[in-house]
Amino acid sequence: MKKLNVLNLFVASSRDLGMQKFTIKEIASKMKKTDKINPSYLPKIFAKNIKKLEQSE
């Protein structure tokens, strides 16, 4: 947990209390990736069904 200073001792934010799981830098580094995601993570069956449903229009 981040050390509290005198000012935010009384008005602690969610970051001060350690509730936020990542810093902006960490979020950005995860979102900036450009390589292909592991295909096994993707919902293939669901995605194919949605495609078939939409093709019926």
């Binding site: 934010s13 902006i24 995601i37």
Partner: protein
């Protein structure tokens, strides 16, 4: 303290500790309050005269009692009015939650009933679209009551194979429904988002701990690489001043996967906070389960239609 442009949370159980009131609700705050009260009540304020002559200042006991009774009466009335407001809101939230689950259950039963009549693919699509539209409106009503913001709108992105070539899979998260408060011109310019980057990638790779993203400024977040702007974000910026984004994780044949993304947007600044995280996750989980059930039902029909 200014909020950050993007925040990530898993749950909001500790949210009561945030801010000034949070500090004084904790044990250390209680102790400080008691100590300060004792110190202050032990001495007279510096501005009070040291000797009060009773001949100069006649104290009318009846007036003091009258004023005290009025103060107590007004305080009690305000307290009860506040309590009434809180109780009505709490009951309203419970009602909306019940309506939501009721709708999902009934609509799913209706779909099972309809499927027995062997509907065609266009008929299935029509039922599916109606379901998505009604469910998103119910989500909107729920969050409007919960967060006390009438500018809240809902959008749902679902995983879809966008490939045109046979035997090639190209999954993207495409907006399948948005509530009517969004700009009407968004539809034709809607961009499917890739699972390889941006919010989709983040949520897929973090799916085990089910995180909720809260955006207080998507443009600032985009500058820092923590959001990938779409054409609609740039053209209709007033629609998404702040957002809460949650993954829709559901069973996909052999594993739990991210089948879609739930987007709750507001036209107001800093609408969402850690206090809303569990409600957002609850709605996302409930909806995912319903989506998977309906998709399983439809997949059987789609396969049967394909065979016949």
């Amino acid at each position: 303290m200014p909020r950050e442009c993007v925040e990530v949370f898993v749950d909001g159980r500790e949210a009561w500790k945030i801010g000034f009131s949070g500090f004084f609700s904790q044990i250390k705050g209680n102790v400080i309050t008691v100590v300060l009260t004792i110190i202050l009540s032990a001495g007279a304020p510096w501005w009070m005269p040291k000797n009060i002559s009773t001949t100069k200042h006649d104290i009318n006991l009846l007036s003091i009692i009258t004023v005290l009774i009025i103060i107590i009466g007004v305080s009690l009335a305000i307290g009860f009015m506040y309590l009434k407001k809180r109780s009505i809101r709490s009951l309203d939230i419970k009602y909306q939650t019940h309506q939501l689950e009721h709708y999902l259950r009934d609509h799913q039963s209706d779909m099972f009933r309809l499927s027995e009549g062997n509907p065609t693919l266009p008929e299935l699509k029509q039922i599916y679209d109606l379901y998505l539209s009604e469910v998103s409106n119910k989500f909107r009503n729920f969050f409007r009551v919960l967060i006390k913001d009438n500018t809240i709108e809902i959008a749902i992105r679902l995983a879809k194979d966008t490939s045109t070539a046979p035997n090639v899979l190209d999954i993207k998260y495409k907006t399948v429904v948005r509530t009517d408060g969004y700009n009407n011109n968004r539809g034709p310019n809607s961009t499917p988002i890739s699972p390889d980057e941006g919010t989709a990638r983040f949520l897929i790779e973090e799916r085990d701990s089910k995180k909720v993203l809260i955006y207080n400024d998507i443009f600032k977040a985009a500058e820092k690489g923590a959001y990938k702007l779409t054409a609609n974000d740039r053209n209709y910026r007033q629609d998404t001043v702040s957002m809460a984004i949650a993954p829709l994780n559901g069973w996909d044949g052999n594993e739990l996967k991210m089948i879609g993304i739930l987007i709750i947007a507001s036209r107001k600044k800093e609408t969402f906070s850690v206090k809303d995280v569990d409600s957002v996750s609850f709605i996302a989980d409930m909806f995912s389960r319903s989506l998977v059930n309906i998709n399983t039902l439809f997949s059987e029909h789609i396969t049967n239609i394909g065979r016949s």
